[in-house]
């Protein structure tokens, strides 16, 4: 309530404030049934004064189908100050932005709820890690919508023409939002994360089903408090191990406990970025002290039996970006090394193997402008973890390639974009097509489609039956 009151107070002097309302109607139609029928209302406000400005954006939306976030919405991954206001199970309202821009000497400051984008890749997230992301539509939603804004303070100071220096201070400890186990885009690929099956009530059951994709048998004794004694007796005849899917069938629903870090001087996230420019070359160095946005997943023995625990832990990321333009072409590189990040594994009781490892992400991209408006961009990248025998085995390398083509026609009124991303080792892929027609200065129609290829274990193939067509009509005065 305090946040809403602040917004209202901030935008009260309407004589100097630009009001920016908007309405969006969005339909995602799957091959079998509607996936999402969303109605969104937006209210933006911008107040400019000499030396400072204030921006706010409020978004309310209702999804008639309720397949993206079915059932009660869990917001444990968000800090209390960052949560959506839920209106039943199908509607919510969220303060997407509320920030003050002002100057302090040489520094330009932005304070408030905002998005901070330090990455510059398309689709493959390497350094765009300051804000967490909502995966309720996996990678299909627009980055602007899927990024979770954070209450934060950002400062920037130019270094003449040579570049800039930035810093951020983030007391808002919010993390990635994963689709629940019954959601349309629940993540099930063992290459990514087991947590998708853990968000909501299925607990151990979902976890075991996830493990069944990579493990043929599990030691029963570690799960004994939660397993039927009959099964334990059965397992004794099988060397103490049983297939995880069998265990899952008899597993009780366990409570999942999210252990959120408490806000303190040691848990506040901080970062700095130094951007240097010389002629056609850009070089940016980034250093972030932040929480990994995915939790470590452990099954712990507690008094009542077993408990699935999700822990968010602090880590450090070092990043490097470099680019050089060649006439109508641009070559760019982005790389990040994270001190320790959670692996897509679950630690069971008695298992002392490591569940986190140093991780890396690298992308080499080339953008080529063709003619007046056409842009062709190709990226080669890899995400991975540096593991050894001390770690619980997990996928340690994900090579990716992406292709983006963007064009404009009818004096920018019609735009088209085709984006495809594929794994180089498994060959599964995502194909995303979007066209947008600006009917006039207020109305815009977007039509597109998403298609997944590959096997169900893959990062894209897991959604092979989730292809869809989308239609969106938006109005802004």
């Amino acid at each position: 309530m305090k946040v809403w009151a602040t917004l209202l107070l901030a935008i009260t002097p309407a004589w100097a404030t630009d009001w920016l309302p908007g309405v969006e109607l969005y339909l995602a139609q799957g091959s079998d049934a509607p996936q999402s029928q969303r109605f969104s209302g937006l209210l933006g406000a911008e107040h400019r004064a000499s030396g400072w400005s204030l921006n706010g954006l409020l978004r309310a939306e209702a999804d008639q189908e309720d397949r993206l976030e079915p059932g009660p919405i869990d917001q444990q991954h968000r800090s209390p100050a960052n949560r959506r206001v839920l209106i039943g199970e199908r509607a919510s309202a969220e303060l997407r932005e509320l920030y003050l821009d002002h100057r302090l000497g040489e520094w330009t400051l932005r304070s408030g709820k905002q998005q901070i984008v330090w990455g510059s890749t398309d689709g493959i997230k390497v350094l765009d890690v300051v804000n967490p992301q909502s995966f309720r539509e996996y990678l299909l939603d627009e980055p602007e919508r899927s990024r979770i804004p954070l209450w934060s303070l950002r400062g920037r100071r130019p270094l003449g023409d040579a570049g800039t220096i930035d810093w951020v201070l983030i007391p808002d400890l919010s993390f990635h939002e994963l689709a629940g186990p019954d959601a349309l885009f629940a993540i099930t690929s063992p290459l990514l994360t087991p947590q998708g099956s853990l968000s909501q009530p299925s607990g151990l059951q979902g976890l075991l089903l996830t493990l069944s994709r990579t493990t043929s048998s599990l030691p029963v004794d570690s799960l004994a408090p939660a397993i039927d004694p009959l099964l334990i007796a059965l397992a004794e005849n099988l060397g103490g191990r049983l297939p995880p899917e069998l265990l899952a069938a008899f597993a009780p629903e366990l409570q999942t406990v999210t252990r959120r870090p408490r806000l303190s001087a040691s848990t506040v996230e901080v970062g700095t970025r130094l951007g240097l420019r010389r002629g056609r070359n850009d070089l940016t160095l980034t250093l972030l002290r932040h929480h990994a946005d995915l939790p470590y997943v452990t099954v712990e023995t507690v008094d009542e039996g077993l408990e699935v625990q999700l822990d968010y832990q602090m880590t450090h990321t070092l990043g490097l970006q470099a680019s050089r333009s060649f006439g109508s072409g641009l070559l760019r590189f982005e790389g990040a090394l994270t001190e320790r990040a959670p692996l897509p594994v679950v630690s069971l009781p008695g298992d002392d193997r490591r569940t986190g490892a140093p991780s890396y992400g690298v992308v080499l991209g080339y953008d080529q402008l063709i003619g007046d408006q056409s842009l062709l961009s190709i990226q080669l990248g890899a995400l991975g973890a540096m593991m050894d025998e001390r770690h619980i085995p997990a996928n340690d390398h994900l090579p990716l390639v992406s292709l983006l083509w963007r064009d404009e026609w009818i004096r920018n009124r019609l735009t088209g974009e085709l984006f495809t991303m594929a794994t180089l080792d498994r060959g599964d892929a995502l194909i995303r097509l979007r066209t947008a027609l600006r009917l006039d200065d207020s109305w815009q129609l977007r039509v597109g489609g998403d298609h997944f290829l590959g096997d169900r274990q893959g990062v894209f193939g897991q959604f092979r039956d989730r292809e869809r067509l989308i239609f969106e009509l938006s109005w802004t005065p």
Binding site: V117, R147, P158, R438, D440, Q444
Partner: protein
């Protein structure tokens, strides 16, 4: 009398610039275009620009933007911050044009939340859906002396201050880069301003006409408040209306940097 004075001026200029007159140039034409190219534009300018884009059929579309321009030793910098319509609000475009090594472009789209360096478009490419090319926007009524032979200059009958000048790209490569085979300029020798440019495509057919009107002298700097570009092939028309022009007043240096595009500058 004024014509005579101008001719003397032109002759003096052509004498002092004799080393830079290219073979095939008409010395009077080059002298006049040189003086226009060297016209004082001030160091900085900021203005509000209203774009009206009118197709041959259909409704016109309007955009408004805040424009910042700076002429430095390393070349010209231009930034546009779009204010309306809502779908474009917050979009920023920045161009640094100087020597070959410092031609850079950045685009900021609110949906991306970052200023991204973009490959430089061809100089003759159309600028953000208008009928003006990137070069037209860069030069804003001036002509790059390196690009053309100025082959003819004749006075307009009955209007001694007005001259018609014909130019041709110095090479096939330049012609392709500009997208023009020939250009005809009507210039005001008194105000040293191009009033109209008629530009022919590579097939030498009339491609577009750009008209600079409502000339105004502010702080001793002549500025066209209205620029109209008509594409004769498509029937599309672009009109730029400049208002609230401020010359040589300080504005935050970040306005002309990629980081400034991201706001807060």
């Amino acid at each position: 009398m004024r014509t005579l004075a101008f001719l003397m001026l032109a002759l003096c200029s052509s004498f002092t610039l004799s080393e830079s007159v290219r073979a095939g140039d008409d010395s009077t034409a080059r002298a006049l275009m040189t003086r226009i190219a060297e016209r004082d534009e001030g160091h900085r300018q900021q203005a509000e620009i209203r774009f009206v884009l009118t197709p041959q059929r259909g409704a016109a579309q309007e955009r408004t933007a805040l424009a910042y321009r700076e002429q430095g030793e390393e070349g010209r910098r231009l930034a546009l911050y779009f204010e309306s319509p809502r779908s474009l609000r917050g979009t920023g475009f920045l161009a640094w044009d100087g020597t070959e090594a410092t031609q850079d472009r950045w685009l900021y789209l609110p949906s991306l939340r970052r200023a991204r360096r973009i490959p430089s478009a061809e100089r003759g490419a159309y600028f953000l859906g208008t009928d003006l090319s990137y070069d037209d926007m860069r030069l804003f009524g001036k002509v790059d002396l390196q690009d053309y032979h100025f082959v003819r200059a004749i006075t307009v009958e009955g209007q001694p201050n007005l001259w018609d000048i014909e130019g041709r790209p110095v090479s096939e490569e330049v012609a392709k880069a500009l997208g023009y085979r020939r250009a005809f300029w009507r210039v005001d020798a008194r105000q040293l301003f191009v009033l109209e440019a008629r530009l022919h495509d590579l097939q030498d057919a009339l491609l577009k006409t750009v008209i600079f009107s409502e000339l105004d002298s502010l702080d001793g700097i002549v500025t066209a408040r209205r620029i109209t570009a008509i594409n004769h092939k498509t029937g599309h028309r672009t009109e730029l209306q400049l208002s609230n022009i401020v010359n040589d007043a300080p504005f935050p240096a970040e306005r002309l940097t990629p980081q400034g595009l991201e706001g807060g500058g």
